[in-house]
Symmetry: C2
Subunit: 573 residues, 2 copies
Amino acid sequence: MAFTPPVTEQRFVLDHVAGIGELAKTDRFAAASDDVVDAVLEGAGQFAAGEWAPLDRAGDTVGAKLTDKGVVMPDGFREAYRGYVDGGWGTIGSPEAFGGQGLPYALATAVLETLGSANMAFALAPTLTVGAIEALTHHGTPEQQQAYLPHLATGDWTGTMNLTEPQAGSDVGALKTRAEPRGDGSWSIKGTKIYISFGDHDMADNIVHLVLARTPDAPAGTKGLSLFLVPKYRLDADGRPGAFNDINVVSIEHKMGLHGSPTCVLSYGDNDDCRGELIGAEGGGIAAMFTMMNNARLNVGLEGVQVAERATQRAVAYARERIQSARAGSPSREPVAIIEHPDVRRMLMRMKAQTQAARALVYYAAGQVDRANLGDADAKKRLDLLTPLAKAHGTDLGCEVADIGIQVHGGMGYIEETGASQHFRDARVTRIYEGTNGIQAADLVGRKLSMDNGATLNALIADMRGGAEADGLRDLINACETVGRNLLSVDIEDRLAASYPFLTMLSVAVCGWLMEREAKAADALGDSDFAQMKKAAARFYVGQIVPEALGLKAAAMAPADPLYAVGAETFAA
Amino acid sequence: MAFTPPVTEQRFVLDHVAGIGELAKTDRFAAASDDVVDAVLEGAGQFAAGEWAPLDRAGDTVGAKLTDKGVVMPDGFREAYRGYVDGGWGTIGSPEAFGGQGLPYALATAVLETLGSANMAFALAPTLTVGAIEALTHHGTPEQQQAYLPHLATGDWTGTMNLTEPQAGSDVGALKTRAEPRGDGSWSIKGTKIYISFGDHDMADNIVHLVLARTPDAPAGTKGLSLFLVPKYRLDADGRPGAFNDINVVSIEHKMGLHGSPTCVLSYGDNDDCRGELIGAEGGGIAAMFTMMNNARLNVGLEGVQVAERATQRAVAYARERIQSARAGSPSREPVAIIEHPDVRRMLMRMKAQTQAARALVYYAAGQVDRANLGDADAKKRLDLLTPLAKAHGTDLGCEVADIGIQVHGGMGYIEETGASQHFRDARVTRIYEGTNGIQAADLVGRKLSMDNGATLNALIADMRGGAEADGLRDLINACETVGRNLLSVDIEDRLAASYPFLTMLSVAVCGWLMEREAKAADALGDSDFAQMKKAAARFYVGQIVPEALGLKAAAMAPADPLYAVGAETFAA
């Protein structure tokens, strides 16, 4: 099924939620004029729909393959990636000093959304590259930046993040990969990393791995970790990819979905000949990693939007074409398109509303990235608070919408050729990688809630309360305040036990607040189809989804106690 | 991972929810003594864990294949099916007159649960056979029963249900398959049927297809449909499988899961040589189909229990083994098994509670089948009301639990070799087939709610109110009453728009009521591990899951209006 880039919606949300007009008034983002924003959205949409979307299915059915020449992508991916580099689609948000366009992060978010809706697995390559760019921009030396950033900014080279090891998943402090100084300023890297997205492929001339490793005599735990830049090919005297750097692909994982994205097990230094450069300070690996990871988390939340948009388009198209049964209560016995049946209509309305809500949440956070980059300290704090929400709730919604998409298709939804099930399989990992959604919830009630002893949360709640109109939404905001205050007063186990329900409640409150704001803005658009759909989706969201979230209050107020009423061994009884 | 049949739990729920002791006091079910029930549960568990569970993964990875000799099952399935027939595991609930054991349907339900937890795809073969047995038992002539039932009861032959055609999914009235009288009392069948589970395979000597078809000059719509028995091989003079009956396998579907269950497209009468027998009256196809389908719906709800049980066992085992991070707030920095972390513990507790809730719901309905068969008219009405709940909510829970199971595994959950993703993929179709869950919700608010103008619902609510103790549960029961009364007063579109939220609310109310009952019964067991887990799960269910369902009240009270605020074409805008 053809993919139609949602440019009207994207522009609308950039305007009314991310506040791109306000950003364009600053010197830094003056280039983000109305015309440029429109041109970027239109151009990215045409490119993604024309070049990337047609490869989505081959990515799933053929998939990336490990050969004796390394990982080989399915036919067409090399050329389509070249088109991405040549079109400058990777450079939107990258620093101008290194060949980027220096446009707002929020706009780059919209472009990445479009790429990922067209081909979610493929879009992981740029997504990871952004992480490497962030790490180098904030922690690299001028020499490192000059050597690598121009190539990463265009996408000529791609980047990866190497955190996980077999014994260390969410527990980064347990990492064992070693880095030893070679005496010439470089480091010898040795160890095995798993779950490396696009850890190898044949689309770019070099791959820049960012690797967390432990230096000699470093303290145990996370404080002993440093970040290293480890290229697949070392740079020669001219700064071009030269000698192979002893990084070997052990295997690629057999995943349930995202087959177009090779998830590699990488072995560094099998022949003791893998060299890396330290990025930032020795022992500063965790701080540097969070620089990479925070934006990566927003971009994973964005994957929720990507898949939700595509799944919704597919389901709507199917429901408008599929003729089945007369409408209940209708005098006519003529069968109608299933979109006319109330429960199907309810599912589609939910898909529309949840997709819009996810987009509002992620774009709102993206707008805070830009404000934080402009030096707004409050925006930075709000971004920190919103990041776990955008990641976890954005991906929860992506999975929910893909799931409903299957249901709308009925039996056809379970047949692979239809395409609905690919979205469902592809989406599922987004709730796991870049910190599981449970880790996001822990981050929310741990570090984020404690920031300023709750002041950042209180500021958000005050803003929401100032804007919210519907009674149900005000009830939910009040409940979030009550729960937040309670969580600050209880011990860490109680907080963690309540973390996920609270994360969902707060996310829905933010989405409801933003959806109401969008509905008001849509009033000014008269009765265009877009405005009507927006208002209907917002009304559904506030009327039906917001009250559901209020149903989580009991869980969010409950202590950890009931979970530990029985011992671990009793769970297997 | 080894499968451990949950025999203690099954026995407990048979006792306290299905009331098997009461059934054993009747003449008809006198054979269901304590010893027999225990022996059946134990024996089925040993057989399923030993013979069927080891084939579950090959069913997924190798799958059923279409060859020029028809559908071939993966290695080991033939022998394991033979073991099922020889062990008499198919005969538990079948009529004694035809070689069955005539034990309660509730006990047969427990046996089928165990088989399906061991190997869900495989268990579809017996599940469908039960439907054919039901149809013949209620609508077949004595000759037809004598010819087919003894072979179906043992499982020597398997059965299928043939409803769907490409143009007719949920709209059965649109079926086109034709049956023409041949003048000798038999009928000539011609047409194409899709989504036929185990429509062909190499495990049994014959396959008995039950086929909905249209007779000449029959009225349009569902009233023109009749049910036909169409064997793969016609019976010879001795009643043995003889001549091939011109039923051809066109293809098997490429499904997201359940690869061990061949889903066939069958073409009847390509050479005008396919013969069938009419089952029941001409034009009585829909009534006969519902006989098959109602129990099949309970058994699909049971598939939710099957997959939930297996996914939970897998997740608990993983979470007890996987060591990762120290416990928050603990003075020790020693990493612990992840089951000790609050959010993981919450997920596992939810899996346990939802699995038990699904089992309680389905077993309770199964107990009503037995009472209805004993002539209890109220039990029949309650069964009719509960059937859509058991099917839809049972499968919703199966999918939810399988989904959480992936999350507990973290990154490993997305890797196929782990096994968690197979449950997730296998489970997804259960919300679609045998009437999508949306169709179940429509059945609930249409036919079932209108029965006796709501008296059956009111009786259930009165029973629940009499038993329920927790305030939250009482609130939910009251809300169900309010919503039910409102739905009876509004038009059909409003009812349908609210159908799914109402179905979920009512299902959770029933589950909460039964879980409270189970917790009380567990009090009598002292502090065994089983009793402690039961009480903890029930407490979690009533304390956290019940309030969530109350959050659906706004949606269940909402009219259809907001869904139709925009036209179908606007959804694509």
